[in-house]
């Protein structure tokens, strides 16, 4: 007689921090910490964008993007519970693939379009060449 197969708990569903035991206090603290970090990053981003004299002007968009990436990481960790633990390997690999595609799409579009803009004949030159 074969013993019932015991399955090792080596996987976690995304969004679910407690596979076996439900600990409401820990869950609430996790969501609360995430909310705190998210509010902090949001407030900093809004202050940075609306107060023009605070930092060197051209650095503001870069700083805003860094803050946004940080806040998205906070959401992934504390709200969606995507962590780097071994039980989350499949979820992290899927996320990594998604990030690569998003990066290629956005950076590729911006690079190609700005390159085309630079190499395009100015409007005045186009009108002259038609004559």
């Amino acid at each position: 007689m074969i013993e019932p197969q015991t399955i090792p708990d080596t996987d976690t569903a995304p969004g679910d921090p407690h596979a076996d035991s439900i600990n409401p206090a820990a869950g609430l603290i996790s969501y609360g910490v995430g909310l705190g970090f998210a509010v902090l990053l949001t407030v900093v981003a809004f202050i940075l964008a609306t107060t023009t004299h605070l930092v060197w002007q051209p650095s503001i968009p870069v700083a805003l993007c860094v803050l946004a990436v940080g806040q998205m990481a906070i959401h992934l960790i504390f709200f969606l519970h995507i962590t780097s633990g071994p039980d989350n390997f499949n979820n992290v690999m899927a996320l990594a693939f998604g990030v690569i595609i998003v990066f290629l799409l956005i950076v590729g579009s911006l690079y190609i379009m700005s390159n085309m803009n630079q190499n395009m004949m100015p409007m005045a030159g186009m009108l002259q060449s038609q004559q």
């Binding site: 019932p4 015991t6 399955i7 976690t12 969004g15 964008a49 968009p61 805003l64 998205m72 956005i106």
Partner: protein, 219 residues
């Protein structure tokens, strides 16, 4: 029985062929556990594909940001106070959604339904603010047909708004299902998918208010 005659129907622990085995209590728990993991993983992949779709809209917005065709640019039409309010509403609704999920895990009715109702109200508030902004822009003559910048703006923000609307319908469905059927394992899996969906909408909004509104106002 010898080990060769027993079919090993579930080598990857997907929870399939659960009926083939002799039902032991422990096995039943593990079947449910693995089914939940597979469901969550599949929905996670759908969400990532949704994010990839949004990234295409983000890319077109970033490319067309300066193509205003003589119309208004971002800093002339955006009301940053409204954006801050919308951000606060959506962030809080993401928090209450997580609280509702814990309430459902504990099978506490007041906790679950209260937090879900709060999530719904916060989401409705977000949608009202956004539709007011859209209506204001269109009535000023700055509709999506005015310039390429406004076309990409309405497409990107409107697509997120449609997602929030569908999410609110799903939220009401989940409240009705738990009310009618209780905290069954299959209902809990749907609830897990819903909470993932709602949190992902908030992640997209973080990218959205940064790229569209904050950078639009700052530059």
């Amino acid at each position: 029985m010898s080990s060769t005659t027993v079919p090993h129907g579930d080598p990857y622990h997907l929870g399939l062929f659960a009926g083939d085995h002799s039902p032991t209590a422990e096995h039943g728990v593990h079947d449910l556990l693995s089914k939940r993991i597979v469901t969550g993983y599949g929905f996670w992949i759908f969400l990532l594909s949704d994010i990839v779709m949004f990234s295409a809209f983000f890319a077109s917005f970033a490319v067309l940001r300066d193509a205003t065709a003589g119309g208004p640019s971002g800093d002339q039409i955006f009301d940053i106070t409204d954006t801050a309010l919308e951000t606060a509403l959506l962030l809080l609704s993401s928090f209450t959604c997580g609280v509702a999920f814990i309430g459902a895990q504990l099978k506490r009715d007041t906790w679950y339904f209260g937090a879900m109702a709060l999530t719904f109200l916060l989401g409705v508030g977000f949608l009202l603010l956004e539709s007011r902004e859209f209506a204001g822009l269109v009535s000023q003559g700055y509709g999506p047909t005015r310039s390429a910048f406004l076309s990409s703006f309405f497409t990107l923000v409107g697509c997120h708004g449609i997602h929030v609307t569908l999410g609110l319908l799903w939220l009401l469905t989940m409240m009705a299902q738990v009310w009618a059927k209780g905290y069954r394992p299959d209902i809990m899996r749907r609830l897990l998918c819903f909470s993932l969906f709602w949190h992902t909408l908030d992640i997209i909004w973080v990218a959205l208010f940064t790229v569209v509104y904050l950078i639009g106002v700052a530059t």
